[in-house]
């Protein structure tokens, strides 16, 4: 019997974020907080892929092709970033 694939959570930008692109950076802010969060390099690439609910694997595959990197390596890089963004309420995780 084939092993069942565990469903993965899906991620997308929080709609409550104010943000702007500035050169190679993206600046994020929640209206009721003073903190400004700056994304650059891979953070910007990640943010650009979070327009709709996507899994880590889906994002990793897109970025892996774009940069010629093994998607598994990309996934390992973006998981902690997503966790950090979620902790700051900047992204929303849809349960699996």
């Amino acid at each position: 019997m084939a092993a069942m694939t565990e469903p993965s959570p899906r991620w997308e930008r929080s709609p409550y974020v104010l943000w702007r692109r500035s050169g190679r950076r993206i600046v994020l802010k929640l209206p009721d907080r003073d903190e400004l969060v700056i994304l650059d390099r891979s953070g910007v690439e990640l943010w650009d892929e979070l327009t709709g609910p996507v899994t880590v694997l889906q994002v990793a595959e897109v970025l892996g092709v774009r940069f010629g990197v093994d998607p598994e390596l990309v996934a390992a890089d973006i998981v902690p970033v997503l966790a950090d963004l979620e902790a700051r309420d900047l992204v929303h995780r849809w349960p699996a």
Binding site: P15, V17, R20, S22, L30, P31, L36
Partner: protein, 380 residues
């Protein structure tokens, strides 16, 4: 003393700044250097671009290669834009706070210019920067809106001369928030005759919104946004600032306008001279070669003498004063009762009205108004 080299340098900076303002407009005749600017020229350009709040379009021009630059220049422009963008996000946060408070008080508000134009009329809102927040409220709500902003700790720059002046005659009120940011509350677009002739109900006729942090925020519909940009460009700062000119071009060349509605509103508000001046100045300043029905009309438009006088109170060096606008406003008011109330407010402002300079402006306005016959209808 400015040397001829200095004049040439200034002219060159002005030309480059206009090219920055026009960057990305199809059909705009922009001129760019072939090599990166020397240090002195770069400093002048940065100062000019920052003064005009065009750093968003500057980084676009640099990024596209239109404006050659050294790495140091690229980094500097990028850093300046980044700082401005951080400021814009702070402003939008504060705007949402104010809008929530107004809504809780039952006051409907629309965002004018700034954030609304950035999100609705530019492909990337980071291209369109702003340094304050302008909010439009209905005339009947302005007193409540003033209370709300005051309750938030915002400091009004000068109080109305008498109760009811804001609601009946004023352009609005300017506030400074505890953060130091400026909030402009508007009843109409401008003070003076063109502000008074505007039919305020038209600004609320068609609903329009943009999304800010997940919320639907009120804005003017596109025709009114275009007309407001015209008022801003034609009747605002002297010389006209480049951002409202870019807004005019951005909207007009997007082919989204209902030109028949623009025409109807323009005539209803007696704003043809304003729109003609704004579009003509924009087309000349940004050197736009594309011909549209409105740019053709604007170029051919000749204002009547009365309209020229009204424009003069906004644009002439010797005519553009608070007193001159007040006199012209008097003529724009319908009926003797309105004019009497206006003059009464000027003549007998309430105790505690304004700063010394504010009182002086009103005294001069009253003296100027008293020299004309306020009780006869003025033909237009």
């Amino acid at each position: 003393m400015t040397t001829s080299n200095g004049l040439v340098a200034t002219a060159r900076t002005t030309e480059l700044t206009r090219s920055v303002a026009a960057h990305g407009i199809p059909g705009a005749l922009t001129t760019w250097p072939e090599q990166p600017l020397d240090d002195a020229s770069w400093r002048r350009l940065m100062s000019s671009v920052c003064g005009q709040r065009l750093s968003g379009l500057l980084v676009e021009a640099l990024g596209s290669g239109s404006l050659p630059a050294t790495q140091q220049q690229l980094d500097e422009a990028s850093e300046v834009h980044f700082e401005r963008v951080c400021g814009v996000l702070q402003l939008e946060s504060e705007a949402l706070l104010v809008l929530d408070a107004l809504s809780a008080a039952g006051v409907e508000a629309k965002v004018l210019k700034g954030s609304a134009t950035a999100h609705l009329d530019y492909p990337d809102p980071a291209q369109r920067l702003f340094a304050d927040v302008d909010l439009l409220v209905r005339a009947g709500d302005i007193d409540e809106a003033v209370k709300v902003l005051t309750g938030l700790g915002q400091r009004r720059h000068s109080v109305q001369p008498r109760a009811g002046f804001d609601r009946r005659f004023g352009k609005g009120a300017t506030f400074t928030a505890p953060t130091g940011h400026e909030f402009d509350l508007h009843r109409t677009f401008v003070m003076g005759p063109y502000g008074l002739r505007l039919r305020l109900d038209d600004l609320w006729e068609q609903p329009a919104h943009f999304t800010l942090a997940g919320r639907q925020v009120g804005a003017l519909d596109i025709e009114c946004r275009f007309l407001h940009s015209c008022y801003h460009a034609a009747l605002g700062d002297r010389p006209p600032r480049l951002v409202p000119q870019r807004d005019i071009a951005q909207i007009l060349l997007s082919d989204r306008l209902d030109l028949r509605r623009v025409d109807r509103l323009m005539r209803s508000w007696q704003a043809e001279p304003v729109v003609a001046r704004a579009v003509t100045v924009t087309w000349e300043s940004l050197r736009i070669s594309d011909i549209t029905a409105l740019s053709t009309w604007a170029k051919r438009y000749v204002p009547r003498p009365r309209a020229e006088k009204d424009l003069a109170v906004y644009i002439d060096d010797d005519g553009s004063s608070y007193a001159a606008k007040s006199v012209a406003a008097l003529a724009a008011l319908p009926g003797a009762r309105q004019r009497a109330a206006f003059l009464f407010a000027l003549a007998l402002p309430r105790r505690g009205f304004g700063t010394t300079s504010g009182k002086d402006r009103w005294r001069r306005a009253l003296q100027a108004a008293a020299h004309r016959a306020p009780w006869t209808d003025v033909s237009r």
